[in-house]
């Protein structure tokens, strides 16, 4: 029995739990239990080998090889954060934890099961989810979809399985929204991708509970390159959630995912991700959606961990009255850079986009908003609204905003708002003089700063975000 709380009560309760929260750190690591790895470095043989292991059809093998060529031809981007710490040579691009994939939780190897249990995955599934996929290093180890949805024709499994079982369906969507040529990291993913989810929701099917994939990166210096495709067919409705964690290692790891979301006419899709990679991970995903006539796409993102994140979920509004929104919360902890934002490309009339980006910088953490808004000629009466709010916790904390607007239609309307706040001695002292500890006071200010976003995001996500933010704040000890 799940106790129902109103959002107010839940947030209130969470705030109260602040003082009792234990820093149950998930940066624990298991012993490296991959049964197979392609070793360090990347070349044609490695790519062939991955395809071979997966017994892929030839079309996929050829796509991989083409992606590799593009990857090799593209320089590492230098327009953003410093990426010189990525050790391309010493990264292992494929690690397989176990032979089997299963839809029975009991069959998941114990150690991996323990890991996911510690992260609260089975509990989440039971309470909140219509289905889930769990990925450990490169491979999905578990997937499950409640029967009621399976019966309605919903497909939800790791992409590797989908390539085998539904090759034609996969072909229709694979790398359509995100071509390999888009950027070096997308090309890399095309060459070595493994795992990720394939979710297909048939016409008119409206799934009321979210589906979730959980990614866990365990091996040191490994890369995780999942590729996720979500297709919301006409008039359907779906909410897909991703969560990611990794243990902390000395050596840097690389995460470079592709997420493609196709929202067909009159459909509604919501993609929520909570990223809490450890502070040794370069997180470089490419996420993009195609939004057709009268369809709605919602991106909800929480970016807490990682050393460097570059992430700009994009919405291509392709049909009249298509709408998209991005809500993003970035926490740039000590020594980390969050270069995040959103892109909205208006290609059709009466389209609307809304981008809300909230960032929190702690110590020397640096939060950057980088956005692109394009309204093409002919996208008449389109509207866009961008709001960026930054909260700086220490004097050396930094926040930068790089909005880029290209407006080609005179009937378009758009607005930008930006604000920067700081947690000051006066605010903290005032709250403390009423009995709150310094940690509680600063957590409260941080959560308060996020409050308007928290109101708009799904409950289970709000709960998770609250928990993660508090963990982060606790880890830092005294703030201010």
């Amino acid at each position: 029995m799940v106790v129902e709380y109103t959002r107010e009560e839940e947030l209130d309760r969470l705030v109260h739990e602040l003082k009792t929260v234990k820093t149950s750190d998930w940066e624990f690591h298991d012993k490296d239990n991959s049964v197979y790895s392609t070793g360090k470095g990347l070349n044609k043989n490695v790519v062939e080998e991955i395809s071979e292991i997966k017994k892929e059809p030839d079309w996929m093998r050829r796509l991989r090889l083409r992606a590799l060529e593009i990857f090799e031809s593209k320089p590492v981007p230098t327009w953003g954060p410093d990426l010189s710490g990525i050790d391309w040579e010493n990264t292992s691009y494929y690690n397989r934890p176990d032979e089997r994939k299963t839809n029975n939780w009991d069959e998941v190897p114990d150690q991996i099961k323990d890991t996911f249990t510690k992260l609260g995955i089975p509990e989440m599934e039971q309470k909140y989810l219509a289905g889930s996929v769990a990925q450990y290093d490169s491979e999905g180890v578990y997937h499950n979809l409640k029967k009621v949805w399976e019966d309605k024709g919903v497909v939800f499994m790791d992409l590797d399985s989908a390539v085998q079982k539904y090759p034609d369906l996969v072909k229709d969507y694979y790398c359509r929204a995100v071509p390999f040529s888009d950027n070096k990291f997308a090309a890399l993913n095309g060459a070595v991708w493994s795992g990720g989810s394939f979710l297909y929701v048939p016409k008119g099917v409206q799934i009321d509970m979210p589906l979730q994939t959980y990614f866990r990166m365990n091996g040191e210096s490994t890369g995780q390159f999942e590729h996720t495709i979500v297709v919301a067919d006409e008039g359907s409705k779906v909410h897909y959630i991703e969560g990611c964690t990794a243990p902390r290692y000395e050596k840097n790891s690389l995460h470079s995912a592709i997420v493609e979301i196709y929202v067909k006419k009159n459909a509604k899709a919501r993609y929520t991700s909570v990223q809490n990679w450890s502070k040794s991970v370069y997180n470089m995903p490419t996420k993009r959606s195609w939004v057709d006539e009268n369809a709605n796409m919602e991106w909800v993102g929480g970016s807490l961990g990682s050393k460097v994140t570059m992430l700009y979920p994009s919405s291509y509004l392709r049909g009249p009255r298509a709408t998209a929104s991005n809500l993003n919360i970035s926490l740039a902890g000590p020594g980390t850079v969050k270069d995040t934002g959103a892109k909205a490309i208006h290609l059709a009339p009466f389209t609307q986009s809304k981008i809300v980006a909230k960032s929190i910088s702690i110590e020397d953490g640096k939060a950057i908003y980088r956005g692109l808004l394009r309204i093409n000629k002919g996208a008449v009466d389109s509207k866009s609204k961008v709001q960026c709010d930054a909260l700086l916790i220490n004097d050396e904390s930094a926040s930068l905003t790089f909005p880029h607007d290209e407006i080609y239609d005179p009937t378009a309307t758009f607005s930008h708002e930006a604000s920067v706040g700081r947690i000051g001695t006066e605010e903290l002292t005032y709250l403390r003089s009423r009995g709150l500890t310094e940690d509680e006071a600063s957590s409260m200010i941080v959560l308060g700063f996020l409050d308007d976003v928290m109101r708009e995001i799904p409950m289970e996500f709000a709960v998770e975000m609250n928990r993660l933010i508090k963990l982060e704040m606790n880890k830092l000890g005294a703030v201010g």
Partner: protein
């Protein structure tokens, strides 16, 4: 009986000494007024008492029931029963008044388990008493509040958090006559033999509504004179010059 004792207190900010020698003792059930001209250090005393980190205590002591507060954190002093109603209450963006007060209450009264519902009911009732409507519950602390609203919310906080010693810094500023009456009414209702008050004020106006038993005059960082309410009346008539000259 509960006692707040301030003794030979001296404090500075940015190397500048503001308080030079302040002493007084307030027992539960007593109302004291601290009066003084502008720049005497009245507000500084409030900040020093709550442990504002910008102020450095040079010597002296502040004790509640014999327990030294100097060196203690602001939250520890609050837990000891001290409450300062700010002259200029601070706005805290995004922190909801109701959630903040509940968290503070639970910190200050860990043994009183109050249900969310009961707490909010009491909050609603008290909002009403200080002349504010329920919408304030879900507004950010002091954000966008008028000067008068902030003052009412300070009193509301006192009513909710139930401190033992209440320091009111220029509580009447920003309040019109009717609001002042209302606030004074609530202060008097809260008053009991378990609670001590220190009313910091430049003018005698508030003291017409809440009559102090003891008056201390602060000039240039020192308590230069102590007396009864008649002292405040004389200041109302003659100002502070005669004290400076004395």
């Amino acid at each position: 009986m509960t006692t707040l004792e301030v003794k030979n207190l001296a404090a500075s900010i940015n190397g500048k000494q503001i308080l030079k020698d302040v002493s007084f003792t307030i027992n539960g059930g007593e109302i004291h007024a601290l009066m003084g001209p502008n720049g005497a250090g009245k507000s500084t005393l409030g900040y020093v008492m709550i442990g504002h980190p910008d102020y450095v205590v040079e010597h002296g002591s502040i004790k509640i029931d014999g327990i030294e507060l100097i060196g203690k954190l602001p939250e520890e002093r609050a837990r000891a029963g001290l409450f300062l109603a700010y002259q200029t209450p601070v706005a805290v963006q995004g922190v909801k008044l109701s959630a903040f007060l509940r968290m503070a209450y639970n910190q200050l009264h860990p043994d009183t388990k109050m249900k969310i519902q009961d707490f909010y009911d009491e909050l609603r009732k008290n909002l009403n008493k200080v002349g504010l409507d329920e919408t304030f519950m879900s507004r950010s602390v002091n954000e966008g509040f008028s000067g008068g609203e902030r003052k009412r919310v300070e009193i509301l906080q006192m009513m909710m958090l139930k401190p033992k010693f209440v320091v009111l810094d220029e509580i009447d500023s920003g309040l019109d006559i009717d609001a002042l009456k209302m606030v004074a009414e609530e202060i008097k209702k809260y008053y009991s033999d378990q609670v001590g008050f220190l009313i910091i004020t430049h003018y005698q106006r508030i003291l017409k509504n809440i009559e102090p038993g003891y008056v201390h005059i602060l000039v240039d960082g020192k308590v230069v004179m102590n007396g009864g309410n008649d002292l405040s009346l004389r200041i109302e008539e003659e100002g502070y010059d005669w004290i400076r000259g004395a």
